[in-house]
Protein backbone atom coordinates (compact mmCIF):
# COMPACT_ATOMS: atom_id res chain seq x y z
CA UNK A 1 0.00 0.00 0.00
CA UNK A 2 2.64 2.50 0.97
CA UNK A 3 6.27 2.22 0.16
CA UNK A 4 8.75 4.11 2.22
CA UNK A 5 12.17 2.98 1.16
CA UNK A 6 13.73 5.60 3.37
CA UNK A 7 12.96 3.63 6.46
CA UNK A 8 14.93 0.70 7.68
CA UNK A 9 12.90 -1.24 10.13
CA UNK A 10 14.60 -3.14 12.82
CA UNK A 11 17.43 -0.72 13.11
CA UNK A 12 19.53 -1.04 16.19
CA UNK A 13 19.36 1.68 18.83
CA UNK A 14 21.78 4.57 18.62
CA UNK A 15 25.09 4.52 20.32
CA UNK A 16 24.93 5.04 24.02
CA UNK A 17 25.11 8.60 25.13
CA UNK A 18 27.31 7.97 28.06
CA UNK A 19 25.30 6.64 30.91
CA UNK A 20 25.24 3.16 32.21
CA UNK A 21 26.66 -0.04 30.93
CA UNK A 22 25.40 -0.76 27.50
CA UNK A 23 23.96 -4.11 28.25
CA UNK A 24 21.64 -2.73 30.88
CA UNK A 25 20.62 0.22 28.71
CA UNK A 26 19.52 -1.99 25.88
CA UNK A 27 17.47 -4.13 28.12
CA UNK A 28 15.89 -1.13 29.79
CA UNK A 29 15.10 0.45 26.46
CA UNK A 30 13.53 -2.66 25.20
CA UNK A 31 11.44 -2.89 28.30
CA UNK A 32 10.20 0.67 27.83
CA UNK A 33 9.19 -0.05 24.26
CA UNK A 34 7.45 -3.20 25.26
CA UNK A 35 5.58 -1.30 27.94
CA UNK A 36 4.48 1.09 25.24
CA UNK A 37 3.47 -1.82 23.06
CA UNK A 38 1.52 -3.32 25.92
CA UNK A 39 -0.25 0.01 26.42
CA UNK A 40 -1.25 0.11 22.77
CA UNK A 41 -2.37 -3.51 22.84
CA UNK A 42 -4.70 -2.65 25.67
CA UNK A 43 -7.01 -1.06 23.16
CA UNK A 44 -5.96 -2.28 19.74
CA UNK A 45 -4.86 -5.60 18.37
CA UNK A 46 -1.80 -5.86 16.19
CA UNK A 47 -0.23 -8.64 14.19
CA UNK A 48 3.08 -10.19 15.09
CA UNK A 49 4.76 -8.16 12.38
CA UNK A 50 3.23 -4.93 13.60
CA UNK A 51 4.31 -5.61 17.13
CA UNK A 52 7.83 -6.32 16.00
CA UNK A 53 7.86 -3.06 14.09
CA UNK A 54 6.95 -1.15 17.22
CA UNK A 55 9.59 -2.90 19.26
CA UNK A 56 12.15 -2.07 16.59
CA UNK A 57 11.47 1.65 16.82
CA UNK A 58 14.67 3.64 16.65
CA UNK A 59 15.15 5.67 19.78
CA UNK A 60 17.50 7.41 22.09
CA UNK A 61 17.38 7.20 25.84
CA UNK A 62 17.69 10.21 28.04
CA UNK A 63 17.12 11.29 31.58
CA UNK A 64 15.46 14.33 33.02
CA UNK A 65 15.48 15.50 36.58
CA UNK A 66 12.38 16.35 38.47
CA UNK A 67 10.91 19.78 37.67
CA UNK A 68 12.87 20.26 34.50
CA UNK A 69 11.04 20.98 31.29
CA UNK A 70 11.35 18.54 28.45
CA UNK A 71 9.63 20.70 25.90
CA UNK A 72 8.86 24.34 26.51
CA UNK A 73 5.54 25.60 25.19
CA UNK A 74 5.62 26.41 21.51
CA UNK A 75 8.91 24.65 20.94
CA UNK A 76 9.29 22.58 17.81
CA UNK A 77 10.65 19.05 18.11
CA UNK A 78 11.37 16.21 15.80
CA UNK A 79 11.06 13.59 18.48
CA UNK A 80 8.29 12.06 20.50
CA UNK A 81 8.81 11.25 24.13
CA UNK A 82 8.21 7.83 25.60
CA UNK A 83 8.27 7.56 29.36
CA UNK A 84 10.49 4.72 30.55
CA UNK A 85 10.01 5.54 34.21
CA UNK A 86 8.83 8.43 36.31
CA UNK A 87 5.98 10.81 35.62
CA UNK A 88 5.81 13.39 32.87
CA UNK A 89 3.17 16.09 32.58
CA UNK A 90 1.85 18.14 29.74
CA UNK A 91 1.05 21.67 30.81
CA UNK A 92 -0.44 24.90 29.66
CA UNK A 93 1.48 27.93 30.82
CA UNK A 94 -0.12 31.22 31.84
CA UNK A 95 1.50 34.58 31.37
CA UNK A 96 2.07 35.07 35.09
CA UNK A 97 4.00 31.83 35.25
CA UNK A 98 1.16 29.75 36.64
CA UNK A 99 0.74 26.35 35.09
CA UNK A 100 -2.08 23.99 34.49
CA UNK A 101 -1.19 20.38 34.05
CA UNK A 102 -3.45 18.94 31.38
CA UNK A 103 -2.30 15.33 31.32
CA UNK A 104 0.18 13.14 33.03
CA UNK A 105 2.06 10.24 31.53
CA UNK A 106 3.54 7.23 33.24
CA UNK A 107 5.79 4.38 32.27
CA UNK A 108 4.85 3.11 28.83
CA UNK A 109 2.98 6.24 27.75
CA UNK A 110 4.04 8.07 24.61
CA UNK A 111 3.54 11.76 25.34
CA UNK A 112 3.69 13.05 21.83
CA UNK A 113 1.94 10.68 19.53
CA UNK A 114 -0.10 13.57 18.15
CA UNK A 115 3.01 15.22 16.86
CA UNK A 116 3.05 12.61 14.13
CA UNK A 117 0.13 14.31 12.47
CA UNK A 118 0.56 17.80 13.90
CA UNK A 119 4.18 18.87 14.07
CA UNK A 120 3.75 21.80 16.40
CA UNK A 121 2.13 22.28 19.75
CA UNK A 122 1.07 24.98 22.12
CA UNK A 123 1.92 23.12 25.27
CA UNK A 124 4.97 22.04 27.16
CA UNK A 125 6.18 18.86 28.77
CA UNK A 126 7.80 18.73 32.15
CA UNK A 127 9.16 16.03 34.42
CA UNK A 128 7.26 15.70 37.68
CA UNK A 129 9.81 13.27 39.01
CA UNK A 130 13.23 12.11 37.90
CA UNK A 131 12.46 10.37 34.66
CA UNK A 132 13.93 8.03 32.15
CA UNK A 133 12.78 8.82 28.64
CA UNK A 134 13.12 7.44 25.17
CA UNK A 135 13.19 9.97 22.37
CA UNK A 136 11.64 8.52 19.27
CA UNK A 137 11.93 10.47 16.02
CA UNK A 138 8.61 11.53 14.59
CA UNK A 139 9.69 10.17 11.26
CA UNK A 140 9.90 6.69 12.76
CA UNK A 141 6.39 6.86 14.11
CA UNK A 142 5.07 8.39 10.96
CA UNK A 143 6.58 5.64 8.85
CA UNK A 144 5.09 3.08 11.15
CA UNK A 145 1.67 4.61 10.86
CA UNK A 146 1.91 4.77 7.11
CA UNK A 147 3.43 1.36 6.51
CA UNK A 148 1.06 -0.42 8.85
CA UNK A 149 -2.48 0.91 8.65
CA UNK A 150 -3.44 -1.01 11.76
CA UNK A 151 -0.79 0.89 13.66
CA UNK A 152 -2.11 4.13 12.23
CA UNK A 153 -5.54 3.25 13.54
CA UNK A 154 -4.11 2.25 16.89
CA UNK A 155 -2.29 5.57 17.20
CA UNK A 156 -5.42 7.43 16.26
CA UNK A 157 -7.25 5.50 18.92
CA UNK A 158 -4.65 6.56 21.46
CA UNK A 159 -5.27 10.16 20.45
CA UNK A 160 -8.95 9.64 21.13
CA UNK A 161 -8.18 8.22 24.55
CA UNK A 162 -6.10 11.29 25.22
CA UNK A 163 -8.99 13.50 24.25
CA UNK A 164 -11.40 11.51 26.35
CA UNK A 165 -9.28 11.94 29.44
CA UNK A 166 -8.88 15.61 28.71
CA UNK A 167 -12.65 16.02 28.41
CA UNK A 168 -13.10 14.39 31.78
CA UNK A 169 -10.56 16.72 33.26
CA UNK A 170 -12.44 19.74 31.97
CA UNK A 171 -15.46 18.46 33.86
CA UNK A 172 -13.39 17.69 36.89
CA UNK A 173 -11.85 21.12 37.12
CA UNK A 174 -14.92 23.00 35.99
CA UNK A 175 -17.66 21.43 38.05
CA UNK A 176 -16.33 19.80 41.16
CA UNK A 177 -15.14 21.04 44.50
CA UNK A 178 -11.67 20.48 45.84
CA UNK A 179 -12.35 17.16 47.59
CA UNK A 180 -13.96 15.58 44.56
CA UNK A 181 -11.39 16.89 42.17
CA UNK A 182 -8.55 15.44 44.13
CA UNK A 183 -10.40 12.22 44.75
CA UNK A 184 -11.11 11.86 41.06
CA UNK A 185 -7.56 12.31 39.94
CA UNK A 186 -6.41 9.81 42.53
CA UNK A 187 -8.90 7.32 41.15
CA UNK A 188 -7.63 7.86 37.66
CA UNK A 189 -4.05 7.53 38.77
CA UNK A 190 -4.87 4.33 40.64
CA UNK A 191 -6.42 2.65 37.66
CA UNK A 192 -3.73 3.75 35.28
CA UNK A 193 -0.97 2.66 37.62
CA UNK A 194 -2.62 -0.67 38.06
CA UNK A 195 -3.06 -1.13 34.32
CA UNK A 196 0.60 -0.30 33.89
CA UNK A 197 1.52 -2.93 36.44
CA UNK A 198 2.90 -0.38 38.88
CA UNK A 199 0.90 -1.24 41.96
CA UNK A 200 -2.73 -1.72 42.79
CA UNK A 201 -5.46 0.84 42.75
CA UNK A 202 -5.53 0.64 46.53
CA UNK A 203 -1.84 1.21 46.93
CA UNK A 204 0.63 2.76 44.53
CA UNK A 205 3.51 5.18 44.32
CA UNK A 206 2.48 8.70 43.47
CA UNK A 207 5.56 10.44 42.13
CA UNK A 208 4.51 14.05 42.34
CA UNK A 209 4.50 16.80 44.89
CA UNK A 210 1.47 18.52 46.32
CA UNK A 211 2.25 21.50 44.12
CA UNK A 212 2.08 19.31 41.05
CA UNK A 213 -1.20 17.93 42.19
CA UNK A 214 -2.40 21.49 42.63
CA UNK A 215 -1.40 22.33 39.08
CA UNK A 216 -3.23 19.27 37.84
CA UNK A 217 -6.57 20.01 39.48
CA UNK A 218 -6.49 23.77 39.30
CA UNK A 219 -6.08 24.54 42.98
CA UNK A 220 -3.48 26.13 45.19
CA UNK A 221 -0.78 24.07 46.90
CA UNK A 222 -2.01 25.34 50.22
CA UNK A 223 -5.53 24.28 49.52
CA UNK A 224 -4.39 20.93 48.21
CA UNK A 225 -2.60 20.38 51.45
CA UNK A 226 -5.69 21.06 53.50
CA UNK A 227 -7.84 19.02 51.19
CA UNK A 228 -5.51 16.04 51.46
CA UNK A 229 -5.68 16.26 55.22
CA UNK A 230 -9.41 16.43 55.03
CA UNK A 231 -9.63 13.39 52.76
CA UNK A 232 -7.24 11.58 55.01
CA UNK A 233 -9.28 12.37 58.12
CA UNK A 234 -12.45 11.27 56.38
CA UNK A 235 -10.68 8.05 55.54
CA UNK A 236 -10.98 8.28 51.78
CA UNK A 237 -7.30 7.83 51.14
CA UNK A 238 -3.98 8.90 52.49
CA UNK A 239 -0.99 10.21 50.63
CA UNK A 240 2.27 10.14 52.48
CA UNK A 241 5.86 9.41 51.53
CA UNK A 242 4.63 9.41 47.91
CA UNK A 243 2.46 6.38 48.57
CA UNK A 244 -1.27 6.52 47.99
CA UNK A 245 -3.24 4.17 50.11
CA UNK A 246 -6.97 3.69 49.65
CA UNK A 247 -8.86 1.93 52.43
CA UNK A 248 -12.02 1.46 50.39
CA UNK A 249 -11.97 1.83 46.64
CA UNK A 250 -15.73 1.72 46.66
CA UNK A 251 -16.06 4.66 48.96
CA UNK A 252 -13.46 6.70 47.11
CA UNK A 253 -15.05 6.21 43.70
CA UNK A 254 -18.39 7.04 45.22
CA UNK A 255 -17.10 10.36 46.48
CA UNK A 256 -15.31 11.13 43.23
CA UNK A 257 -18.21 10.04 41.03
CA UNK A 258 -15.55 8.08 39.24
CA UNK A 259 -16.63 6.02 36.26
CA UNK A 260 -13.63 4.52 34.46
CA UNK A 261 -15.43 4.31 31.13
CA UNK A 262 -13.64 7.38 29.90
CA UNK A 263 -10.28 5.63 30.14
CA UNK A 264 -11.48 3.33 27.39
CA UNK A 265 -9.95 0.30 28.97
CA UNK A 266 -10.86 -3.28 28.27
CA UNK A 267 -12.68 -5.26 30.89
CA UNK A 268 -9.90 -7.67 31.71
CA UNK A 269 -7.02 -6.59 33.89
CA UNK A 270 -3.67 -5.41 32.66
CA UNK A 271 -1.92 -8.34 34.21
CA UNK A 272 -4.08 -10.87 32.43
CA UNK A 273 -3.55 -9.11 29.14
CA UNK A 274 0.17 -8.74 29.48
CA UNK A 275 0.63 -12.38 30.21
CA UNK A 276 -1.54 -13.18 27.23
CA UNK A 277 0.71 -11.36 24.81
CA UNK A 278 4.12 -12.24 26.16
Amino acid sequence: MFSHPSVVLGRVPFEDRGFGRKRRMVSKQHSALSHFLARVLLRSSLSEEEREAILALRHQPSKVRSNHDIITPGEHTEEATLVAHGVVARFDGMRDGARQITSFYIEGDMCDLHSVVVPFTGWGLTALSDCGLLRVPHSELRDLAENFPAIGLAFWREAVVDASILAKWVGNVGRRNARKRVAHIICEAGIRMEMAGLGTRERFRFEMTQSHLADAVGLTPVHINRTLQDLRRSNFFSLGAKIVSVPSWERLTELAEFDPTYLLLPKQSAKARRSAIS
Copy 2:
Protein backbone atom coordinates in the same frame (compact mmCIF):
# COMPACT_ATOMS: atom_id res chain seq x y z
CA MET B 1 -10.29 -3.83 22.67
CA PHE B 2 -12.04 -2.50 19.65
CA SER B 3 -11.62 -4.47 16.48
CA HIS B 4 -13.55 -3.83 13.35
CA PRO B 5 -15.17 -6.23 10.97
CA SER B 6 -13.54 -6.65 7.64
CA VAL B 7 -14.08 -3.85 5.23
CA VAL B 8 -15.36 -3.89 1.71
CA LEU B 9 -13.20 -1.67 -0.38
CA GLY B 10 -14.71 0.93 -2.63
CA ARG B 11 -18.24 0.46 -1.45
CA VAL B 12 -20.85 2.64 -3.11
CA PRO B 13 -23.14 4.72 -0.91
CA PHE B 14 -26.32 2.99 0.12
CA GLU B 15 -29.73 3.62 -1.33
CA ASP B 16 -31.56 6.64 -0.02
CA ARG B 17 -33.46 6.19 3.16
CA GLY B 18 -36.55 7.99 2.11
CA PHE B 19 -36.74 11.26 3.89
CA GLY B 20 -37.79 14.58 2.53
CA ARG B 21 -37.98 15.74 -1.00
CA LYS B 22 -34.96 14.35 -2.56
CA ARG B 23 -33.87 17.31 -4.56
CA ARG B 24 -33.81 19.83 -1.78
CA MET B 25 -32.45 17.38 0.71
CA VAL B 26 -29.55 16.56 -1.50
CA SER B 27 -28.61 20.14 -1.99
CA LYS B 28 -28.78 20.99 1.72
CA GLN B 29 -26.97 17.85 2.65
CA HIS B 30 -24.34 18.49 0.13
CA SER B 31 -23.69 21.89 1.54
CA ALA B 32 -23.24 20.50 5.05
CA LEU B 33 -20.89 17.84 3.81
CA SER B 34 -18.90 20.32 1.85
CA HIS B 35 -18.58 22.47 4.94
CA PHE B 36 -17.24 19.43 6.70
CA LEU B 37 -14.86 18.79 3.84
CA ALA B 38 -13.71 22.37 3.96
CA ARG B 39 -13.05 22.00 7.68
CA VAL B 40 -10.93 18.93 7.08
CA LEU B 41 -9.06 20.61 4.25
CA LEU B 42 -8.06 23.40 6.60
CA ARG B 43 -5.52 21.08 8.11
CA SER B 44 -5.06 18.21 5.68
CA SER B 45 -4.81 17.99 1.94
CA LEU B 46 -6.77 15.39 0.05
CA SER B 47 -6.85 14.25 -3.52
CA GLU B 48 -9.80 14.82 -5.80
CA GLU B 49 -10.88 11.23 -5.30
CA GLU B 50 -10.68 11.50 -1.55
CA ARG B 51 -12.72 14.67 -1.54
CA GLU B 52 -15.35 13.05 -3.68
CA ALA B 53 -15.48 10.15 -1.30
CA ILE B 54 -16.18 12.45 1.60
CA LEU B 55 -18.87 14.29 -0.30
CA ALA B 56 -20.47 10.95 -1.14
CA LEU B 57 -20.85 9.99 2.48
CA ARG B 58 -24.18 8.34 3.17
CA HIS B 59 -26.18 10.28 5.72
CA GLN B 60 -29.49 11.17 7.11
CA PRO B 61 -30.60 14.67 8.01
CA SER B 62 -32.36 15.44 11.25
CA LYS B 63 -33.33 18.36 13.37
CA VAL B 64 -33.02 18.92 17.08
CA ARG B 65 -34.51 21.68 19.11
CA SER B 66 -32.52 23.79 21.46
CA ASN B 67 -31.73 22.16 24.81
CA HIS B 68 -32.55 18.67 23.68
CA ASP B 69 -29.96 15.95 24.05
CA ILE B 70 -28.72 14.24 20.94
CA ILE B 71 -26.80 11.54 22.75
CA THR B 72 -27.17 10.91 26.44
CA PRO B 73 -23.99 10.06 28.32
CA GLY B 74 -22.99 6.44 27.98
CA GLU B 75 -25.38 5.79 25.15
CA HIS B 76 -24.20 3.66 22.28
CA THR B 77 -24.67 4.92 18.72
CA GLU B 78 -23.86 3.74 15.28
CA GLU B 79 -23.88 7.19 13.81
CA ALA B 80 -21.69 10.20 13.93
CA THR B 81 -23.21 13.66 14.06
CA LEU B 82 -22.33 16.37 11.60
CA VAL B 83 -23.60 19.85 12.39
CA ALA B 84 -25.35 21.43 9.43
CA HIS B 85 -26.37 24.52 11.34
CA GLY B 86 -26.68 25.62 14.93
CA VAL B 87 -24.41 24.80 17.85
CA VAL B 88 -23.94 21.40 19.45
CA ALA B 89 -22.08 20.76 22.69
CA ARG B 90 -20.39 17.77 24.16
CA PHE B 91 -20.86 17.62 27.89
CA ASP B 92 -19.88 15.71 30.97
CA GLY B 93 -22.74 15.19 33.39
CA MET B 94 -22.40 15.27 37.16
CA ARG B 95 -24.50 13.23 39.49
CA ASP B 96 -26.40 16.24 40.79
CA GLY B 97 -27.46 17.13 37.28
CA ALA B 98 -24.86 19.83 36.75
CA ARG B 99 -23.16 19.79 33.41
CA GLN B 100 -19.82 20.80 32.08
CA ILE B 101 -19.61 21.52 28.40
CA THR B 102 -16.32 20.20 27.13
CA SER B 103 -16.50 21.22 23.48
CA PHE B 104 -18.81 22.98 21.16
CA TYR B 105 -19.33 22.27 17.52
CA ILE B 106 -20.52 24.57 14.78
CA GLU B 107 -21.57 24.21 11.20
CA GLY B 108 -19.25 21.83 9.40
CA ASP B 109 -17.92 20.13 12.54
CA MET B 110 -18.29 16.39 12.94
CA CYS B 111 -18.94 15.79 16.62
CA ASP B 112 -18.17 12.12 16.74
CA LEU B 113 -15.25 11.36 14.55
CA HIS B 114 -13.63 9.52 17.43
CA SER B 115 -16.39 7.03 17.52
CA VAL B 116 -14.89 5.52 14.39
CA VAL B 117 -12.11 4.06 16.43
CA VAL B 118 -13.81 3.96 19.82
CA PRO B 119 -17.40 2.85 19.62
CA PHE B 120 -18.52 3.98 23.04
CA THR B 121 -18.26 7.20 24.96
CA GLY B 122 -18.74 8.56 28.42
CA TRP B 123 -20.12 11.88 27.35
CA GLY B 124 -23.29 13.27 25.88
CA LEU B 125 -24.19 15.61 23.07
CA THR B 126 -26.79 18.33 23.36
CA ALA B 127 -28.14 21.04 21.12
CA LEU B 128 -27.43 24.55 22.38
CA SER B 129 -29.64 26.02 19.71
CA ASP B 130 -32.09 24.66 17.21
CA CYS B 131 -29.89 22.56 15.01
CA GLY B 132 -29.81 20.83 11.68
CA LEU B 133 -27.77 17.66 11.80
CA LEU B 134 -26.56 14.97 9.47
CA ARG B 135 -26.28 11.52 10.93
CA VAL B 136 -23.47 9.63 9.27
CA PRO B 137 -23.09 5.92 10.02
CA HIS B 138 -19.84 5.02 11.70
CA SER B 139 -19.38 2.30 9.17
CA GLU B 140 -19.25 4.87 6.40
CA LEU B 141 -16.56 6.85 8.10
CA ARG B 142 -14.65 3.77 9.03
CA ASP B 143 -14.68 2.56 5.45
CA LEU B 144 -13.46 5.91 4.31
CA ALA B 145 -10.62 5.90 6.79
CA GLU B 146 -9.59 2.41 5.83
CA ASN B 147 -9.95 2.77 2.09
CA PHE B 148 -8.20 6.10 1.91
CA PRO B 149 -5.23 6.26 4.23
CA ALA B 150 -4.94 9.99 3.71
CA ILE B 151 -8.46 10.35 5.06
CA GLY B 152 -7.53 8.19 8.00
CA LEU B 153 -4.65 10.49 8.74
CA ALA B 154 -6.84 13.54 8.30
CA PHE B 155 -9.40 12.15 10.76
CA TRP B 156 -6.68 11.33 13.21
CA ARG B 157 -5.46 14.89 12.83
CA GLU B 158 -8.94 16.16 13.63
CA ALA B 159 -8.87 14.07 16.79
CA VAL B 160 -5.63 15.74 17.76
CA VAL B 161 -7.16 19.15 17.18
CA ASP B 162 -10.00 18.12 19.43
CA ALA B 163 -7.56 17.11 22.11
CA SER B 164 -5.61 20.30 21.72
CA ILE B 165 -8.69 22.42 22.26
CA LEU B 166 -9.68 20.32 25.23
CA ALA B 167 -6.24 20.78 26.77
CA LYS B 168 -6.58 24.51 26.40
CA TRP B 169 -9.96 24.37 28.07
CA VAL B 170 -8.51 22.55 31.04
CA GLY B 171 -6.09 25.42 31.45
CA ASN B 172 -8.81 27.94 30.91
CA VAL B 173 -11.10 26.52 33.55
CA GLY B 174 -8.36 25.53 35.95
CA ARG B 175 -6.19 28.61 36.05
CA ARG B 176 -8.09 31.68 34.99
CA ASN B 177 -10.59 33.94 36.64
CA ALA B 178 -14.07 34.55 35.34
CA ARG B 179 -13.26 37.50 33.07
CA LYS B 180 -10.39 35.77 31.36
CA ARG B 181 -12.25 32.52 31.00
CA VAL B 182 -15.16 34.16 29.30
CA ALA B 183 -12.91 36.35 27.20
CA HIS B 184 -10.93 33.33 26.08
CA ILE B 185 -13.89 31.31 24.98
CA ILE B 186 -15.22 34.29 23.06
CA CYS B 187 -11.90 34.57 21.28
CA GLU B 188 -12.02 30.91 20.36
CA ALA B 189 -15.58 31.21 19.17
CA GLY B 190 -14.71 34.26 17.11
CA ILE B 191 -11.87 32.58 15.29
CA ARG B 192 -13.79 29.41 14.68
CA MET B 193 -16.85 31.25 13.43
CA GLU B 194 -14.70 33.27 11.12
CA MET B 195 -12.92 30.20 9.80
CA ALA B 196 -16.31 28.64 9.20
CA GLY B 197 -17.37 31.67 7.24
CA LEU B 198 -20.06 32.60 9.75
CA GLY B 199 -19.09 36.14 10.51
CA THR B 200 -15.94 37.93 11.54
CA ARG B 201 -14.05 37.60 14.78
CA GLU B 202 -15.21 41.08 15.67
CA ARG B 203 -18.84 40.35 15.05
CA PHE B 204 -20.65 37.06 14.93
CA ARG B 205 -23.77 35.29 16.09
CA PHE B 206 -23.38 33.45 19.36
CA GLU B 207 -26.14 30.89 19.50
CA MET B 208 -26.14 29.99 23.16
CA THR B 209 -27.62 31.26 26.35
CA GLN B 210 -25.74 32.63 29.31
CA SER B 211 -26.42 29.36 31.10
CA HIS B 212 -24.72 27.44 28.33
CA LEU B 213 -21.79 29.75 28.52
CA ALA B 214 -21.70 29.12 32.25
CA ASP B 215 -21.59 25.38 31.66
CA ALA B 216 -18.78 25.84 29.18
CA VAL B 217 -16.46 27.81 31.42
CA GLY B 218 -17.35 26.23 34.74
CA LEU B 219 -19.17 29.16 36.32
CA THR B 220 -22.66 29.96 37.50
CA PRO B 221 -25.20 31.62 35.24
CA VAL B 222 -25.49 34.44 37.72
CA HIS B 223 -21.80 35.03 37.77
CA ILE B 224 -21.61 34.81 33.98
CA ASN B 225 -24.20 37.51 33.81
CA ARG B 226 -22.23 39.84 36.03
CA THR B 227 -19.02 39.01 34.26
CA LEU B 228 -20.53 39.79 30.89
CA GLN B 229 -21.70 43.14 32.19
CA ASP B 230 -18.27 43.79 33.55
CA LEU B 231 -16.60 42.92 30.25
CA ARG B 232 -19.08 45.04 28.46
CA ARG B 233 -18.47 48.03 30.73
CA SER B 234 -14.73 47.61 30.31
CA ASN B 235 -15.30 47.63 26.60
CA PHE B 236 -13.81 44.24 25.84
CA PHE B 237 -16.85 42.97 24.03
CA SER B 238 -20.59 43.01 24.24
CA LEU B 239 -23.00 40.15 23.90
CA GLY B 240 -26.59 41.06 23.26
CA ALA B 241 -29.36 39.63 21.12
CA LYS B 242 -27.02 36.69 20.50
CA ILE B 243 -24.54 38.90 18.71
CA VAL B 244 -20.98 39.21 19.92
CA SER B 245 -19.34 42.46 19.07
CA VAL B 246 -15.68 43.09 19.77
CA PRO B 247 -14.47 46.69 19.60
CA SER B 248 -10.79 45.78 19.67
CA TRP B 249 -9.66 42.26 18.95
CA GLU B 250 -6.20 43.21 20.12
CA ARG B 251 -7.38 44.25 23.52
CA LEU B 252 -9.61 41.22 23.94
CA THR B 253 -6.89 38.71 23.08
CA GLU B 254 -4.54 40.56 25.38
CA LEU B 255 -6.95 40.17 28.27
CA ALA B 256 -7.66 36.55 27.46
CA GLU B 257 -4.03 35.65 26.82
CA PHE B 258 -5.38 34.14 23.66
CA ASP B 259 -2.90 32.48 21.34
CA PRO B 260 -4.67 30.72 18.48
CA THR B 261 -1.85 28.23 17.96
CA TYR B 262 -3.80 25.55 19.77
CA LEU B 263 -6.51 25.63 17.13
CA LEU B 264 -3.95 24.29 14.69
CA LEU B 265 -5.17 26.48 11.90
CA PRO B 266 -3.29 27.42 8.79
CA LYS B 267 -2.04 30.95 8.36
CA GLN B 268 -4.31 31.86 5.49
CA SER B 269 -7.93 32.70 6.10
CA ALA B 270 -10.82 30.34 5.69
CA LYS B 271 -12.23 32.37 2.88
CA ALA B 272 -9.06 32.21 0.84
CA ARG B 273 -8.80 28.47 1.31
CA ARG B 274 -12.41 27.76 0.54
CA SER B 275 -12.29 29.65 -2.68
CA ALA B 276 -9.13 27.78 -3.55
CA ILE B 277 -10.83 24.41 -3.33
CA SER B 278 -14.16 25.13 -4.88
